[in-house]
Assembly symmetry: C2
Homo-oligomer: 376 residues x 2
């Protein structure tokens, strides 16, 4: 893996990251395919068409559903889902803490009940690495605890310390797994995760500590889970400078186009979020003049595309009126076209961001784009 | 419209039909898109890729849901759904009799309650023609009564007589509508429908009677609704010879690949059926060696495509194991890939049928194919 910063514009970074599954141009938005597929009947052939660079799959979902061991037997997640560009897998921790029936957090790991069949499952750093190794993703995420955004300092500090100890166990386990002869992807990369809720001092201390491990990349976790946008930007302002500047920075689960524009300006490279897919399935469409709700009756006879000039497969061929009709009739095709448009919008936004940094006009671009997106 | 029989092989016919929306090669299977979209998130771009010649939409569904008047304002169904090849619309009658809350059949028409919002709607021959004219389909179907397959003679005879009177009103109304300056498709074609349940004498008498109207095509309705396959083939044997031999014959709502093979051998040109789409959404996949149920655990680790050598977008890229995983996880993409495969299978079967007739080897082809499909 080789990460090269091509250009800096203020704190905004334009970089490229070479992996065994191809080169990633950053800043990049990863398209979320929870169970090894993008919701809304979007195929990997579609992802290629809409310019997706990195697909993100959820370790928890693949583990409790079809099983990572089966996927390993099938040659790994890339082969299983027919996607040969980079894949990032999360650690499973976030879903365990938010979705599954969490039973107990101990030093060893976490015991929880599957949301599918209720069976009791244990997951610790080693188990998370084993699952991600079975999936063979390009980038694996460290197993961490993600405390609630507004948790008390007294809860957050020991939680973060445990996350550091878990990271050390992840690093050790990943090195061991990458060395095994039957490993799907022997060059699997591990990103560490910074935690600390909204306490800048805890975040900074933790950022310094995990930077010592010289990992191929670092993520900022535990944001966009209840705090205000201002708090999120403040934490980025304070924390990013303490992460290695020659490594990619990934802001997990973020966010709106405005969040992304602001975070890029604070040095973030990688993003992921369910907003474009979830909104696309619910008639909320992104445009450069604000979001449209296609359920609104004013679009009933609107024969324009979702956005004039958009190059996505929905806009190149179908009208607002038709997509609205499909969504009203609960035809899956309506959801699919909505998801294709929104993912294309996000992917294209990142391309514009990269161009603006390349050309040294990021601040100006950001300010104008924020106005456009607000419909001003 | 010009219909040319290119070749006969026994009673099997190989023909082409020129329409304002392009030429249809028959025998043909029409792909059913109920509400102006194929269920399973299949787009018109997908239909072009899988070789669909004719799309079929349901008048009843488009009338009670989005409304044919809105679709007319949007330039007609072809423009609305972005499909420039032929479209056939049914009359709405079948859904009124089977799906809606039917209230009363009178000489004027039928009163029923919408299955969407319960509102009371009246539909007679004139209304059906007006709706189909608003949609601007290539081929409109006459408004008929579809009596239950096993109805008594005493019910069927007067019903068929009324269907004839309704046909005369359809012809008159369609001529009037096609002459209007603001009509979407001034060359809209009307097919008459033969009824008579399983009573060959009533079918024959009715076939002779409607043939006198010299319509551009004729359908056989009211089959595949409860009678046995043998009864269906018997009715085809008896009735088809009394329909004009220089006109296309459409067997409505049929059927399995075996039904189609047998019906082609009895002179049928056009088919439609929800089997490939419905089965595709429920893990039942057609192959030349019988149907597969992908939910079966034996496909859990099967990395072969649904059918080896198949050229459909699902088989070219995805494995049985992956599609099974998607269907188990209730990911829409699984349904979409299933529908794409099954529609491609049907479209490709028709291509093989046309080739076999062209080459004068239809009987032989049919017998071998029936064995293959039965997994023998």
């Amino acid at each position: 893996m080789k990460y090269t910063v091509l250009k800096r514009d203020g704190r905004a970074k334009r970089a490229e990251m070479e992996t065994v599954h191809g080169t990633i141009q950053t800043p990049v938005f990863m398209n979320v395919g929870t169970v090894g597929a993008i919701k809304g009947a979007v195929s990997t052939a579609d992802l290629e068409e809409i310019g997706t660079q990195v697909e993100l799959s959820n370790t928890y979902h693949l583990h409790v559903r079809t099983g990572d061991e089966l996927i390993k037997e099938m040659g790994g997640l890339h082969k299983f889902m027919s996607w040969n560009r980079p894949i990032l897998t999360d650690s499973g921790g976030f879903q365990v803490f938010s979705l599954a029936g969490l039973r107990k957090i101990k030093e060893e790991g976490v015991t929880f009940n599957s949301h599918i069949d209720g069976r009791k499952i244990f997951m610790g750093p080693e188990e998370s690495m084993q699952i991600q190794s079975n999936l063979g993703s390009t980038i694996a995420m460290a197993f961490d605890e993600c405390p609630p955004a507004l948790a008390e300092r007294e809860y957050v500090r020991p939680s973060v310390e445990r996350t550091t100890r878990w990271l050390e166990r992840c690093i050790k386990e990943m090195a061991e797994l990458n060395g095994r002869p039957d490993t799907v992807n022997k060059e699997q990369l591990l990103f560490g995760i910074n935690q600390g809720a909204i306490y800048a001092d805890i975040r900074i201390e933790h950022a310094k500590r995990i930077s010592e491990f010289d990992l191929p990349g670092y993520a900022i976790g535990g944001l966009a889970v209840g705090e205000s946008h201002e708090q999120m930007y403040y934490i980025l302002d304070e924390t990013v400078p303490y992460l290695p500047e020659n490594k990619p920075v990934y802001l997990m689960g973020v966010g709106t186009p405005a969040n992304i524009l602001e975070a890029v300006d604070r040095g973030v490279d990688f993003f992921d979020c369910v907003y474009p897919t979830r909104n696309g399935r619910h008639a909320h469409m992104y445009t450069n003049h604000g979001k449209l709700n296609l359920m609104n009756s004013k679009y009933e006879k609107d024969d324009r595309p979702i956005e004039e000039g958009c190059g996505c497969p929905a806009c190149r061929r179908y009208s607002r009126a038709y997509i609205r009709h499909l969504l009203k009739a609960k035809e899956m095709l309506g959801m699919r076209l909505g998801v294709l448009h929104n993912l294309y919008f996000y992917n294209h936004l990142m391309e514009e961001i990269r161009d603006a940094i390349d050309e040294g006009r990021y601040k100006e671009f950001k300010n104008q784009k924020l106005k456009d997106l607000a419909g001003e």
